[in-house]
Structures are given as C-alpha cells and as structure tokens.
Symmetry: C2
Subunit: 383 residues, 2 copies
Amino acid sequence: MAKQIRLGIVGVGNMGTSHLSNIRNGNCPEITVTAVADIRPERFERVAGPDITCFDSSKAMLDSGLVDAVLVATPHYDHPALAIECMKHGIHVMVEKPSGVYTKQVREMNEVAKNCDVVFGLMFNQRTDHIYRKMKEIVDSGEMGRIRRVCWIITDWYRPQVYYDSGAWRATWSGEGGGVLLNQCPHNLDLLQWICGLPVKVDTKMHFGKWHDIEVEDDVTTYMEFPNGATGTFITTTGDTPGSNRFEITFDGGKLVSENGELILWKLEQFEPEFSRVNKEPFGSPAFTKTVLQTDGKSEQHTGILNAFAGAILRDEPLIAEGVEGINGLMLSNAMHLSAWTDGPVSLPFDEELFYLELVKRIKSSRNKTNVTDIVVDISGSY
Amino acid sequence: MAKQIRLGIVGVGNMGTSHLSNIRNGNCPEITVTAVADIRPERFERVAGPDITCFDSSKAMLDSGLVDAVLVATPHYDHPALAIECMKHGIHVMVEKPSGVYTKQVREMNEVAKNCDVVFGLMFNQRTDHIYRKMKEIVDSGEMGRIRRVCWIITDWYRPQVYYDSGAWRATWSGEGGGVLLNQCPHNLDLLQWICGLPVKVDTKMHFGKWHDIEVEDDVTTYMEFPNGATGTFITTTGDTPGSNRFEITFDGGKLVSENGELILWKLEQFEPEFSRVNKEPFGSPAFTKTVLQTDGKSEQHTGILNAFAGAILRDEPLIAEGVEGINGLMLSNAMHLSAWTDGPVSLPFDEELFYLELVKRIKSSRNKTNVTDIVVDISGSY
C-alpha cells in the first residue's frame, strides 16, 4: 500500500465537488484524488485537472486500477449499490450520508461489508463536532446517570424554493426518497442515536410540501420512547428561518443543553430519585452547579472523516463512523416516515417490508420535475 | 359600594393563606379580608386576626353579609360550584386556577356568570408577567406575521414526593382530577391560548406516576395543530430538576424565544414566503436583526390580579383575566387527557361527555391516600 490513498469520487455534484476542493486544498495529505466518475460528462469540465481521470461510469473507474478507495457522493438511492460494487472490487469506500434510502438495501450493503476486507466508512462529519463529542463523552461516562428526556429542536436547515428547483432528483420520492429527514437530518439522526441510543418507538407528525413546492416532507415533529422509558422530541424543518438548534438531554443527575455553540451542564449534588426519596421540603429541589463546559474546540468535519479514513486504510486506525452504523439513523428516519404514513406510532425494529412497499407506492406516483437547472454551488458551511 | 372591598377567602390551605398574607401585607389597598371559610376549622388558628371572622362553611360566609367578594382557593373540583354560589348571592368572585376539572362544570359556571351582575375573574397571575405580556403584544401586533410553530418546554415545575404526600386530595383522580396539567400547568395552558390561540387538535403522550408515587400524570408531551396549520409542542413534567422554561414561537417574519428571563426577537427583513419566492441563491436565507427585547419589567402576579379585581368592582376597570376565559386552558388540558386516555389525536371541540365518563371511571378507582399530613407551607415564588 502506498503512503497516499488514490481516491476516486463517484458523483461530482455539490458534495462531490466540495470534497474534491477540500482534498485539493491540501487538507488531506494522505489522499490524492486520481479519478472521478459521473453520468453527466458535462460536469467534468469543472473538476478537470492533469492528475484526474474522468469516467462516465463508476464501473469503468473501479476497473481502471487508478483508485484504492472511493468516495460515494451520488444521490441517496445509489449509495448502497455503489458501495457494494466497490467492496466487491476490494476497494475501500466512504459513503456520503444517508447510507441509503431504505433499510433493506442498507442491510444488504452491511452484509457484503462483513465479508469483504475493505475499510467502509460513512460521512457523518458532525460526529467530529466538539460539542457533540463532548455530549457523547458525558452521556457515556455515566456521571449524569440515566437519561430521562431528550429534546432536539433542529430547525436550522432552512432551504428556499430555488434549492429544491436546483436538481431534478431533489425532494422527490423517486429521486431522493424523502425530504428533510433524508437530506438534511441524517447527521442529526445519527448523532441522536450515537449519543442517546436508538429509540424503541416513534410517533411522527409529518407535513409534506408545507413550506415549499415539493412532494416530500419539510416539517416533522416526532415523539420518541427509549428502551429505559426515557421520552424524547425531535423537531425539524427546512421552512424556518432563522431556525434553532437546541439539543437538551435531561438525566437523573441534571441537564445538558447545547445551543448557540455553547454547551451547558447543570449537575445535581444528589440524583433526583434519591433526593425525592429523602427530602422533607414540599417545595424543595436538589442543589446543583451550572457550568459552561470547555471543549477542545476542534471540529474537523469532512477533513477529519477523510483523514481517519486514510488512517484506517494505511494504519488500521479507527474510523470516526463505521459504515455499518449508518443503518441506525436510517432506521429512525424510516420509522418516522412509516409512522406518518400509517398515522400512528411505530415500534423499532419496524416492518421493513411494509416501509418499502409504502415507499414504492410514492415512487410510482412521484412527479417529474421540469424546469430544473443542474446548479452546483459552493456549499461550504451549509452542512 | 365602599372604597374597600370586603373579601372572603374560601379555603385557607397553601394558596388561600398565601393570598391572605399578601393582602395583609398591604399590597392590595382596596381590599380587606373580613372573613375566611374552610371545612377544616383547625386551620383557623393560623389565619386568626381581630378583623377576620371564620366560617366552617362557605354558605354561612356568603349569608353573613360580611363580604362583597370572595376568593375561591379550594381544591379544583369545588371551584365552579363555589363560584356559582357566590354569583347567585350577588357576590363578586375571583377563582383560583384551574377554573374547574372538567369543562362541563365550567360551562355551567360561565352560563350563570352571564346572567349575574357580578365581577368574575380568574387567578391567571402569570398573565401579568412582563415577558408573557410582551410576547402577546408582539403576536397581536401582527408585525411578525402568521405563527408557524410553537414549542414550549415547560419542565421547571419540579415537585418532590413529599409535596404529593402533603395533602390527601393532591395528585389523585378523585381529589384533584389530574396532575401536572391540572395543578401546575393551568397557567401555561392559559398563556398558550392567550398568546397563540387555541389549537384545533392535540396528540398527547402522557405518563402517570412516572417520577412519583402518584396516580395522575407527571410527564406530558403534546403535539398540537392550530387553525392556520401551525404546529406546536408542549412538554411538561414535575419530575425534571432543574427543569427548563423555553417558549419559542416561529413566524413568517422570524422567531421569538423566551428563556432564562430573557426575550429575544429575530426579525426578518423580508417575510420567509416572499423571500423564498424571489430569492435565487440555493443556500440563501433572509437577512434578520436579533434583539434582546426591553420590557417594562413589571410582573405584579397575584397582587396585580387582585388589584385589577378591586378596580373592576369599584370602577368598572378591566380584569386581567375574565372568569369566562378560564375554560380555554381547561379545554386544552381536558383534550390532552382525552388524547392520552383514548391513545390517539383529539380534535377541539372534543367530546366533553366522553371526557367526563373517562374521568369518572378514574375517580371510581382512585386510591385513598393514607399517611398524609395537612402541611401548609410558604409557597412564595413557587407559582
């Protein structure tokens, strides 16, 4: 294995182009992009360079011998099939979020991964965020005790209508398989399960094309229950501006709130159940300390994910997000859709076949978008 | 009519005693307490004074000719019947929250009120809060446009077990008719409807005795829909400590958030629907200003309510909360219970007969609490 990974990128739309620039800018010293593949050759012009070979099919790129690893940055439906193709070629693969659109295809990908000796990672770059890392550290440490309540208002994913008009696949059942849950929230759903664990039940109220001229959801309110009886709320939309990003976790031992780039911990001197058992004051409450937490301030985002990917390939170092973990957030997303479609609560694990049939119904009646333009824009800072 | 209202207080438990102290401390110069009534004469000792006559029945007090007005501070179930008794005696009446336990009895009270020439007010003292008044002013002004989303996390009603053990009526279906929604949240439910209007639909997840040894609810998560299509979330509990009180309203024109005693307004330069229609940038969003709002800082609470009550009686001035408005928050509360009991969404107006039957079922199986003490404590600052 060479000291530099030769990376191919499949799909050079917004995300693929952004990754290419990032690597070209020298942020990933162990990676060099040697090839790209896209079914739209008109896109090659803007990625052209002396060291990059362009292919109009992923298969041709995988067969070329020019790449050790591939980054999949196509529309969501194709992620699992392309990842499987890479794995079967013995090529390492990093998949953009979400891992797929429905869990059936992702399970298949994970099965193949088990039997292939390649590194398989997912682009959950928000796991590198210093605030979310600190939150996970606190939860995992056990110092705050059992989680009782989770409330994440994550409404700062605003998208104007022109965003949806910028690609024929966007915000359609056939092209994207969902809206804010499939495109914007995979990060948040992954973080939610990464930090708090997977719920066992969701009850979701979903509104489709409420704030935009689209057929998929752009407004979601979910109630959740966790295995230990904790409850939660997850509220998201691409319609609010300026939206909020407030993530609150309540524990037996206090409260943790992330908002406005700040993480605050309220830590009880005595866990609530114990206090309630011994306290004699009808309006008493346990004493606590409130601390604005210091973090290491580092949020390496895509760069961090890609450098860990290179480290995993070259030196067997840990990934930031293992590919097989991608199914967790997607299960949550699928369960939310199924809850909305069946108009009632859904327990996890849910009926994946039913989800798929319901999705296919919507794909069949999906409208064809006209008057769209293939715009590739600078999206730095938008994910 | 004299220049001072002669007030009788029915029920001198925690709230009645607190009102008495407040008036005795000279905060309500136009009110003098001339009588109290309570079915527990052992309570009279602590309210005794040369100018106060104690009655062991409300009827005797109303017949005594000693009172022009009455403040009803008994357990909730008795509020409507006592108010009606006052009205029929031609005596003005101020009722503690909630207006009653079920809307049927409150409708009857409101009917009687219509045909009696007395002042009828409700102790919604939180309507005097400078932050909530400012929120209502902003919503009512229309400057922010249509409401799109409401999210109120109001979990700072912590009560330890001993609170529930401090009275036999507390937190029982037979004595109180509900938990956090009936005892703590009447304020918030009133404010919610006062500021944002009444929802047309609720879907509520409720947990009974989750954090305490009680039979009623102490954990509630509600999803709401409003007549204009706006959605909302209302989350409350008496189990979290330190809890949160974060009230967010999103508009076409921006966002308003109350938390930590601060009210912040994000005001868009262009309303979102108009921006989205004309904007050409896929990741664009409307410009806004963020302002920490100044308020008049005044929160007169119970004193404000009582002084307005005196003003209404003496000079026909407006009340802070008209008695007949009490039914709105209670409708919301009843609808939430009905949703939880029937395990599905409930539209407003709901089936009040069904609610009543379901409530009666629970009253019949309500347990008798033993080992309770009649504690009266200083509750200043707890409401």
